[in-house]
């Protein structure tokens, strides 16, 4: 077990899960090296701006709708506050809820870097409590607070007797991890250590770890077939609700990267089963996942009946559209779970996966097993394919796209699809984590791909009129030219 809830920090994925952000090879090599423990980080001698674990951790906690997040950092680190609050206010409004979470910062300045800022931090925590009376306060650390050695844990301990709500430090110093997904774990760790209470009773709820609960209605309906209800987190959740997640029947996640820490920790500490199958994207993913849920909650028969019913409804339509997709070639740039899960869905639709760029890669998950989606592909993929690990390094992606000229580029994080279309390549931004969920999602996804490649106006119009940011020289190099061979 990699998780230790008796310390204040989740640690980095590099240390816990052998995660890397630099690699060039293929699927089989990646799986083999993961098994043998030989996979090593390859550093870059050129890199482009990526994302940090602090942004990831704090935006996760900001999904909770009745807390305060205090970013112990200079102002720029808190620049994300407004976009985060606005998005979550919109998510709450969709459900007729109010979003009361506060996201503020300590505005660390030069004096703070010289004399320290823990006294100011203490005052700000108290002031935040007095102003807003949130139901919990999370204090995020930053590069600056980390480098100057601010002892945030001690401040939190001191204030625990003065403020009658859960307080937790969120250790997410941006320089500590190259893997921003370490921030998911930092957020989970803070929730697990400060909010989650030991179970008092069993409930009918299944914890559903996701981002924006766009398929809430659909999943509520799905689970009702089996007499259970989903509890979506962290979107629109409250401190009180989260305190009960150890009472759930099981934990599931829409994304392996997102779920590993919380799911495995709840299983390890409180015996809440974590569904560790591939995720419910595409047909195989959905069925394998649902059958495992059925097994865990003893609803096997009902699950089989449901699958049979839905297959009859959707599979003919999916078969029909597959005829038009067959033979298309795709390149993907996504997080470590989605990159491989969407590859599987594309293969189900008979679209050829030419290249997978995974923003990072976890050699194992917190249950010490290789991520199930890569093992599945190793067994089931009709062919080996190229894989690179690249934390949103557009220079590598554009080089790859230029070399392989796919029919479509798919990405799940902002800031890369636009560059594909500038090269004239159709692209789809797969923002919604439920875009390929189950049968309905698979069909929608297939239709969207078809729509995307059938109207090429936008990318062709733009590509014909702009110049690319990279030099011709770069396009003639190998995409991995700036990956160093040796690593330390």
């Amino acid at each position: 077990m990699t998780i230790n809830l008796n310390v204040t920090s989740a640690g980095t994925r590099e240390n816990r899960l052998g995660s890397i952000t630099g690699y060039a090879g293929d699927l089989h090599d990646l799986v083999n090296q993961s098994r043998c423990g030989t996979l090593k980080e390859r550093e870059r001698c050129f890199s482009q701006s990526s994302s940090c674990d602090a942004g990831c951790a704090l935006s996760q906690l900001a999904y909770i709708r009745d807390v305060a997040i205090i970013n112990h950092a200079p102002s720029g680190c808190t620049a994300m506050a407004s976009a985060t609050v606005v998005a979550h206010t919109q998510l709450a409004a969709k459900r007729g809820l109010t979003y009361d979470t506060i996201f503020l910062g300590t505005d660390m300045d030069e004096n703070d870097t010289i004399f320290g800022a823990t006294i100011g931090l203490r005052e700000i925590i108290l002031e935040t409590y007095n102003r807003y009376k949130p139901n919990a306060i999370f204090v995020g650390t930053s590069c600056v607070s980390g480098i100057i050695g601010e002892d945030v844990d001690s401040i939190i301990n001191e204030l625990a007797s003065e403020i009658p709500i859960p307080l937790a430090a969120v250790h997410c110093e941006g320089f500590k991890s190259r893997v921003w997904a370490s921030g998911f774990d930092a957020a989970d760790h803070a929730v697990l250590t400060s909010l989650v209470k030991p179970p008092q009773r069993k409930t009918k709820f299944i914890n559903f770890k996701n981002f924006n609960e766009s398929a809430r209605g659909e999943i509520t309906e799905l689970f009702a077939n089996f007499g259970v209800e989903p509890f979506f987190l962290y979107s629109n959740s409250t401190v009180e609700e989260l305190s009960h997640i150890a009472e759930a029947l099981a934990t599931v996640s829409i994304c392996g990267t997102l779920g590993t820490y919380l799911g495995n920790a709840l299983e390890e500490k409180y015996g809440v089963p974590y569904i560790k199958t591939i995720n419910p994207l595409g047909i195989a993913g959905f069925e394998i996942w649902l059958r495992e849920i059925g097994r865990v909650i003893h609803q096997e028969t009902e699950v089989e009946a449901y699958i049979e019913r839905e297959r009859a409804k959707y599979l003919p339509k999916i078969e029909e559209i597959k005829k038009e997709l067959k033979g298309l070639r795709a390149v993907l740039g996504m997080g470590a779970s989605y990159a491989f899960q969407i590859s599987r869905v594309l293969q189900e639709l008979e679209i050829e996966v030419v290249w997978v760029a995974s923003w990072h890669y976890d050699t194992k998950y917190d249950n010490n097993e290789i991520p199930p989606h890569v093992e599945y592909l190793e067994k089931e993929s009709p062919y080996n394919f190229k894989v690179s690990v690249s934390d949103q390094q557009n220079f590598e992606i554009l080089n790859i796209l230029n070399t392989y000229q796919p029919d479509i580029y798919l990405a799940r994080h902002p800031g890369t699809t636009v560059w594909a279309i500038k090269q004239g390549i159709a692209a789809f931004f797969l923002a919604d984590e439920y875009k390929t969920f189950g049968y309905r999602g698979t069909l929608d996804f297939a239709q969207t791909i078809l729509d995307t490649i059938r109207n090429r106006s936008f990318e062709k119009n733009l590509a014909a009129r702009i110049t690319l940011p990279y030099t011709d020289w770069w396009y003639q190099q190998n995409h991995a030219a700036f990956l160093k061979e040796d690593s330390k």
Partner: protein
């Protein structure tokens, strides 16, 4: 009161990467953590020729923090010169690289013979906010890139206004300022936006004068340009919105540039006639919309708080309540800025607070007497207090998350009409 950043309305100095980004084909190179550009790129319209995900960045990690990141920076700059096709490379420091003491100036100096210019600006986030960071980037370009011109070009005017990208209307405003200057027969020179860039930067030293249209941001830059190139500057604190302020702007610039007064007056007369054609046609809306009251409050940077206050008082006949300036304007400028709010027509004066704590501002607004529904002009942060006070609400300054601004402008005669359109498009959604 603790130094609390509640509802941030400014970013850190590294936010000045947006200033570099707005110079076509200038490329910021960040010696910072991996998430800095990501967080600072929050505004829309960031996918230009370059974009934050194209900006080279050393993505500092633990090893760099312990052993220093100078070699990593050297590699990234050297390779950026090979991979990315830019006219100007601006190396920007972040917090981590500054605290661990990397000698970035020295690293950048070693590229002085590179094919393309490479300059360095210290923009560590803890050193100041993005308004100052913007000035530091311009200062770096002036000090490290610009060379004295062998001639001055009569009528060539460098225009400096707001902070690009951070100000959602930066593009439209700047280009409208260019149009106004052009009407006077002068030749504007700006460095940001479409078809500007390094060829215009090269022309900065030969300008006849610098025109700064901003309450305080950029003042240190035009002073430096005066010192370095003996270029005089005209400082107009108010961004001209609507007829009164735009006509005043044309007179002041015309006067400074020595343009024939009669010519200036002819331009003003024609513009005002056209402007008042529209005001006349829509005066019924402004006068006879029952839900519109008289009092307004602006919660914004010094630029918009001042400019919108002047417009709504001098053109539209509204009355200012206490106004808020949230950009952390340095103390040395605050007295002067307060003074500008006392120069309103009909002896009207507006009280001003320099305050960036959104919670305190909104508490005051909740207690303010507006004699009707308030008009609140601010940022996305002010939507909530607007709901609580049943106010008309328009977001104009960062952060603006729920409206899209491409190239529209609030500057000039047309800009005043545009602001009225935007305000009344909100007002008209309610009857009572």
């Amino acid at each position: 009161m603790p130094k609390i950043l509640d509802q941030p309305r400014y970013k850190c100095a590294l936010g000045a990467m947006q200033t570099v980004h707005s110079i076509t084909k200038a490329l910021p190179i960040l010696h910072s953590g991996p998430g800095c550009a990501d967080k600072l790129s929050g505004s829309q319209g960031g996918s230009g020729h370059f974009a934050p995900r194209i900006f080279p960045c050393t993505n500092l990690n633990e090893k760099d923090v312990i052993f220093g990141g100078e070699e990593g920076l050297r590699d990234v700059i050297a390779n950026a010169l090979k991979i990315v096709n830019a006219d100007l490379y601006v190396v920007l420091s972040g917090c981590s690289s500054e605290i661990v003491g990397d000698d970035m100036q020295e690293v950048v100096r070693s590229f002085k013979n590179a094919e393309k210019p490479v300059v360095f600006a210290s923009t560590a986030g803890f050193k100041g906010n993005n308004f100052l960071g913007h000035e530091w980037v311009i200062q770096a370009i002036i000090e490290q890139y610009l060379k004295p011109a062998d001639k001055k070009t009569k009528g060539l005017v460098n225009i400096w206004a707001s902070v690009p990208q951070h100000d959602p209307f930066w593009y439209g405003n700047l280009f409208e300022l260019e149009n106004l200057i052009t009407q006077l027969g002068l030749t504007p020179n700006t460095i940001f936006g479409y078809d500007r860039g390094i060829k215009n930067i090269d022309k900065i030293p030969e300008a006849e004068f610098n025109l700064l249209v901003s309450p305080w941001v950029g003042l240190s830059n035009v002073k430096l340009l005066e010192e370095k190139f003996q270029t005089p500057y005209l400082h107009l604190p108010t961004l001209p919105i609507g007829a009164f302020e735009t006509s005043k702007f044309l007179r002041e610039v015309g006067n400074f540039a020595g343009i024939d007064k009669e010519k200036v007056e002819d331009i003003i007369t024609e513009n005002e006639k056209k402007y008042y054609y529209f005001i006349e046609r829509f005066a019924d809306v402004f006068l006879e919309t029952r839900i519109m009251a008289k009092r307004f409050v602006v919660i914004s940077d010094a630029q918009y708080s001042l400019a919108i206050t002047k417009f709504l008082v001098n053109d539209v006949g509204l009355f200012p309540s206490k106004q808020y300036i949230t950009d952390n304007a340095p103390e040395e400028y605050q007295e002067a800025i307060k003074g500008y709010f006392k120069e309103l027509n009909w002896n009207i004066e507006a009280e001003v607070a320099f305050l960036s704590d959104g919670h305190l501002i909104q508490d005051e607004i909740k207690e303010t007497y507006f004699s009707g529904y308030p008009l609140i002009i601010g940022s996305s942060w002010d939507k909530k207090v607007a709901e609580q006070t049943q106010a008309h609400y328009l977001s104009v300054s960062w952060p603006v998350n729920e409206r899209l601004v491409i190239n529209s402008s609030y500057v000039g005669y047309g800009g005043g009409l545009k602001l009225l359109e935007d305000i009344y498009s909100v007002v008209l959604t309610r009857f009572n």
